[in-house]
Amino acid sequence: MSAHASSASRSEQDEKLPITETPVRRMVREFMASPLAVSGLVVLSVLSLLAIFGPFIVPQNPYDLMQLDIMDSQLEPGAQSVAGMTYWLGTDDQGRDMLSGIIYGLRTSLGVGVISALVAALIGTSIGIYAAYAGGRTENLIMRVIDLQLSFPTILVALMILAFMGRGVMNVILALIIVEWSTYARTARGVALVERRKEYIEAAESLVIPRWRVLFKHLLPNCLPPLIVIATVQVGRSITLEATLSFLGLGVPITEPSLGLLISNGYQYMLSGKYWISLYPGIMLLVIIVAINLVGDQLRDVVNPRRQA
């Protein structure tokens, strides 16, 4: 929406600007043109800092039993604890401060989402670029596997993998990697097929450079922009998927709850009107995903090569 509104003024700017602007600078400038996307990025940065430095700023360590008091369980937001502390977002059934619980949950959710998306990107991109470069039967076989996997919904595939392996943080990350690599591989192959016909690859090949070097030093960097867009959106998808699986009781264990598990814990108290145990972790989840999607949407517009033409 905002991208549409600003595209006219952008093309005018393009003519006035000096030709020396680098592609990266152009992308940064175009990204900054959307206030929505920038605010998404700001929110994401703040939440990431919160996740990284969480243990130092939380009012209470929710997993240190010494700091908990069962008398404080299911308190409403803003209530005072027995010890005199204020629970701004209330407490859960164990008497844990929801605010602290959410910050810890954020750590697990963001951590699982980012790690799985990055590893899946690494594996998927390598396979996709290799497929495009190898061609022939290898490419065909890889594409068949990708098609096969993409024809089933990710949630079912992940659900089954976790049903086979049991719950656990590493298992969730592994399941997410298995369901996500194919998206990267398909895109990477598509981009690489276009890039490999270009002259710089021919030039690199005619110098006697080893094949892996042509692949990773010359081909890969030029395939990256669309893959970065996908990776951004995929982090959001990973977080949602992890939350859903944890909600269903197949994701992370109770000892390392993510936002999804926090929501699941509060679910049984919701029908008796104790809304805060599920509501606030859910709002946090929604804020992260909306922020990621806003950033991803704008990145897609900025990177899209069709718009540059």
Partner: protein, 323 residues
Amino acid sequence: MTTWLAQRLVQSVFVVLVMTAIVFVGVNVIGDPVSILISPDANQQERARIVAEFGLDQPLWSQYLSFLKGTLQGNFGNSFVYGMPALQVILSRMPATMELAIAAILLSVLIGVPLGLYAGLRPHSFFAKFMMAGSILGFSVPLFWLALILIMFFSVYLGWLPASGRGQTVDFLGIGWSFFTWDGLSHLCLPVLTLSIFKISLIMRMVRAGVREVLPQEYIKFARAKGLSRQRLLYVHVLKNIMIPVVTIIGLEFGSLIAFSVVTESIFSWPGMGKLIIDSINVLDRPMIVAYLMIIVFIFVTINLIVDILYTTLDPRVRLSRD
């Protein structure tokens, strides 16, 4: 066309075969089913009898062959929990899931297409902009949390709609349907709304993009110049041309609705396949998991095949290139 169809069918059968192998290997990685089947204080003879009864003492490959044979006959063994053929249990739950999925698709199309048309025809109106911004929210909100919020608002706070179960059902063709009673319909509301929000956003965005693409085309200008009525222009010339991607997406999204029934059915205690599989996974009811997976594979392969055929029939360009 016939050759293409034959090739496509062979391909589908091959996919099903590959999936049987993957499912079988996967399921056998799960912990030993003997331990959950038999009480800890059962004696050795009793153990051996049950192990032999379920064929768990055979080597893996021979278990696979008998599994493949069973799959072809639709026999996945008896459910450990229900003591009935697994396929029968799942098929008896399938209508409930289908009812939910079909109702959700209907609602998404009925709301999504008009909204998309409006947003495409008047892209700068406040309402269109509001809906487009709202659709980002619709894309982002996790399904299970949306379900909780809806329950919280409509069931707990307002007390208007029931939060669980199917309500009163009416038998039609030997199967119970919630669709035909007011009580059943009120039970359908929340789960269907939950499933629809994402699809409405998706269909709305696709239709809007389609309208924006079709409107500047020459044939629309020509139809306008011919003096066709606005109605005819809209419903025949615009709508027909944007329907191809929409039909494709409806087909594919139908599959995802069946997949996400796992989530909605668990939350709303809707007695369908999705709730059944979650319960089965929790107690490691192996025949049930396997039967569910094979039915899902079959459903998805069929949906993909139908979408491909529809796509080919609807779009003359694809049809000609495949002849």
